[in-house]
């Protein structure tokens, strides 16, 4: 069990890193990676939301959307038992869960951990439109190659967040250096960041094959 979970984490952090091999969450990756401190703040916030979002969307998927006996809606509307709601409500329900969750996390942090709330500040509301969060929810519930259990899905969400944070931190380190280097004027800013990301992705290729 522990081994399986560790494998999932290694797989999403290194082999299938969300930013570098799945192209998810590129907007915050480029937008908030100028400074190491803000990159870390964004990474922590995203990891937090991703973990909880994976857990909740797993419950929504298995007990509300999928057809079958476990479906809660089917207790009231029996016809749902055969058809399920998966086709029509998947995207909308996930994005609503994430948006509500981000709002909730924001309120809870403000009440309970004001210091952390201050340091995350503007990054929290931005997470709603981070495609990595919706991406991990969708990937957890595509059932390919296998149907993930609750714990696996949550751990995968957590690992994806860690992978995002690692990529952000590496990138912010590179960009802090790049600011001091003499680069051709037309490549300054975003273009050189993309080329660096490409080289990082090439380096992360070295991990492929580590986990099947």
């Amino acid at each position: 069990m522990i081994k399986e979970l560790a494998l999932i984490i290694v797989s999403v952090v290194f082999v299938n890193n969300f930013v570098l091999s799945k192209f998810l969450g590129l907007c915050p990756f480029l937008g908030v990676s100028q400074k190491t401190s803000s990159a870390l703040g964004m990474g922590v916030a995203v990891t937090f939301v991703m973990t909880i979002a994976s857990a909740i969307t797993w419950i929504v998927y298995n007990y509300i959307l999928l057809p079958g006996d476990a479906n809660i809606v089917a207790m009231v509307f029996p016809s749902i038992r055969e058809s399920g709601l998966i086709e029509v409500l998947k995207t909308i329900s996930y994005i609503l869960v994430i948006a509500t969750l981000v709002q909730l996390v924001e309120m809870m942090l403000r009440k309970m951990v004001p210091a952390l709330y201050e340091s995350l500040g503007i990054y929290l509301p931005l997470i709603t439109t981070n495609c990595a969060v919706l991406g991990v929810a969708l990937l957890n519930t595509t059932d390919s190659p296998t149907h993930l259990g609750f714990l696996q899905a949550t751990v995968q969400g957590f690992g994806a967040g860690i992978g995002f944070t690692v990529a952000m931190l590496l990138m912010s380190g590179i960009r802090e250096r790049l600011a001091l280097v003499n680069i051709p004027q037309s490549l300054r800013g975003v273009p050189i960041a993309f080329i660096c990301t490409g080289l990082m992705a090439l380096a992360f290729f070295g991990f492929s094959g580590m986990v099947q």
Binding site: F23, A99, L134, L187
Partner: protein, 211 residues
């Protein structure tokens, strides 16, 4: 004059406000699906449809949406159209095209371009203008997707629209994979910046000579 104004709403999205190369928005799907021109066009079409429809609906109901909760309202409207596109594509497009677009069709919901246009244009303008704006930006995005995917398909697989270009060319498959996508987009952005710089330098020189 009014005609010209309408035309401008449409054409500004293609060059002046090109979502990919000028605004640098919506990068995630544009890199993931541009392994072949066919994929790029399908993705562009889907996103353009959602952009036009959501712009239209948002600009119709804009006076009923309170300012404080506008973002959740936009997301629900966009998500409804994305679900429509998803179902239509599943029904009518070939299986392998759907498989290669994968989760990036539902991810149109969080595409920054659509949110950006809803927030900064459709929420403030009339329905017709919003539709034209959506169509222009959608077309601009689709064209840039075609450009990137054309380069990547040509270098990475040696084909265009699935047709083989030359027998002697050995494809560099890294261009199809993740690193190639980042490098192609980085160099293209650099190229467009260079063009812009050169133009402004020329204008500056002409200005000095005239003086």
């Amino acid at each position: 004059m009014a005609e010209q104004g309408k035309l401008r709403e449409f054409t500004k999205g293609i060059f002046e406000y090109n979502p990919m190369f000028v605004l640098v928005l919506g990068i995630c799907p544009s890199l993931a699906v541009t392994t072949s021109v066919k994929n790029g066009m399908a993705m562009g079409g889907a996103a353009t449809f959602v952009l036009i429809c959501s712009n239209f609906i948002i600009s119709i109901v804009r006076s009923y949406i309170p300012r404080e909760i506008r973002i959740p309202c936009f997301i629900v409207i966009i998500a409804a159209f994305v679900t429509m596109v998803e179902l239509v594509m599943k029904a009518y497009l070939p299986e392998e095209l759907n498989a290669s677009l994968g989760i990036f069709i539902p991810l149109i919901v969080v595409n920054c371009i659509i949110m950006y246009r809803a927030e900064s244009f459709a929420y403030k303008n009339k329905p017709l203008d919003s539709v034209l704006d959506g169509a222009g930006l959608g077309l601009g995005w689709t064209l840039s997707l075609c450009l990137i995917s054309g380069i990547r398909e040509l270098l990475g697989a040696g084909t265009i629209f699935g047709l083989k270009i030359s027998e002697s060319y050995e494809p560099a498959s890294v261009m199809i994979m993740a690193p190639g996508a980042f490098i192609v987009l980085g160099l293209l952005l650099g190229f467009f910046n260079w063009q812009k710089l050169r133009k402004s330098e020329k204008a500056m020189k002409a200005h000095i000579q005239n003086d």
